[in-house]
Amino acid sequence: MTNSVGIVTPNKINFEDPITLSSGAVLPRYELMVETYGTLNADKSNAILICHALSGHHHVAGYHTPDDKAPGWWDSMIGPGKPIDTNRFFVIGVNNLGGCHGSTGPSSINPETNQPYGSAFPVVLVRDWVETQARLADRLGIEQFAAIIGGSLGGMQALRWSITYPERVRHALVIASAPKLTAQNIAFNDVARQAIITDPEFHGGDFYQHGVVPKRGLRLARMLGHITYLSDDGMGEKFGRLLRTGEYKYGYEVEFEIESYLRYQGDKFANVFDANTYLLMTKALDYFDPARHYGGSLSQAMRQAKAKFLVVSFTSDWRFAPSRSREIVKALLDADRTVSYAEIESAHGHDAFLMEDAPYMGVMRAYLNNIAAEIA
């Protein structure tokens, strides 16, 4: 556990102020599950918010128990001496509203009915998450984040932050993200949702009361998602056409290693993730389009921002392709904002933002070093 933040304990933070969501729905109260690493400095200028992606949560670094098998999901990036250096920064990981890892979400108990929210849990947009995160910052006394950092759906949150709260974001790091989804992306999301919704054990979202979980649907959704997060080359390199037994069985059982891998990932996911949260998070992705309120012009939207930006994409990422990041870069340049852009050569597809490609770590380290120097 060298260069690890070590054993960490999440905190549940309770918010009693009602929040009106973009959809018009009101949550009278809610909780956010939060994990922090490092120390907030005296003038509270060294805070970094890590925004999570589709299936993410607050546990971004370190271990919960000494015999934890895997660390937090971005442990390669966050820790003492790592690019997001916890010796210098106070790092906050948060499970978004609607999540299933401790924050109020569809599987939480609805105080009005004393039953899980289920289908009654409202749709949540990226801007709603930003609102809850801003309230979290208020609670911690953080007026301005040194940086807000996110990959994929997390990058969308960083973008939204810079538009909605320009004064509160010094730097926004938008990684493997997009200014809005393409039709193809929305299509993938809908196939995933249909897999869940049509599972006989989904019960319209109220499966909790039936004591069942739509595992088959969730598993399919995750298998599909997983394929789109990898690249053909990366998959080929790792699995190729390897057979588990070395010979064809002429049947429909698991034969190829890739089948085995995907089913394993699907099963693992279906055991720990909430089906309604998956629906909700993919919908938040589909709806995200900050240009919508600025006559369709992303550069107009970005003109609101005051942050400095680092945009990063990965060559083999076809779900959030480099061309999508270039749209963000172009909009920022058109809006005369400060931006740097790196297009990292990687075979890991969309998942590359969680990997340790040396140039990627190099860019992040260099950029974050400058932030640390700025706030020192």
Binding site: T338, V339, A342, G362, A366
Partner: protein
Amino acid sequence: MAHPTTLRPDLKHIAEQIRPNSRVLDLGCADGELLAWLQANKQVRGIGVDVDVNSIVTCVEKGLNVIQADMESGLQHFEDGSFDYVVLSLTIQSMHNVELILQEMLRVGRCGIVTFPNFGFWENRWQILLGRMPVSETIPYDWYNTPNIHFCTVHDFGKLLHKLGMQVNGQIVLHQGEPVEFLPNLLGSLALVRFSQAAKI
């Protein structure tokens, strides 16, 4: 104002051409030496472009704004007329689409500054005369490993600008970092050309 003595000689001459407080796009910015100097000494607002990720890392380390992009397909990231100067130093000879990049430079900027090895330099001519491909200080590669595909002389470059409806606003030919006044196309190994759209008559 600080004198750009610490810069690589060709960059020093570019730096001297650039007015304080202007906006500069540095194409093929490499380690960002020019931009860093201009930002520190001439309060220039600059952006670098390079295709190599190691250059991007180095520029970010220096606190420069830098965009990783391949310029062969143009400068789509940038709006028309968004820069005062667009610099392309010691890169044009390795580019496929020379005409496009020159047009793009004057689309996004008012003034272009290009430096390139002068193929008309006497040593190059001499080596050709002896039946060999030139290898010299400004052309340090052998024919089989050179990234350079489009060599030209000072005269050739001027002719291309004219063909593209552009005009030379200033030209310095250097050898070993020093300006060559006498027979520049013969005695200079490196050329710096500042150009803009030709005035419409």
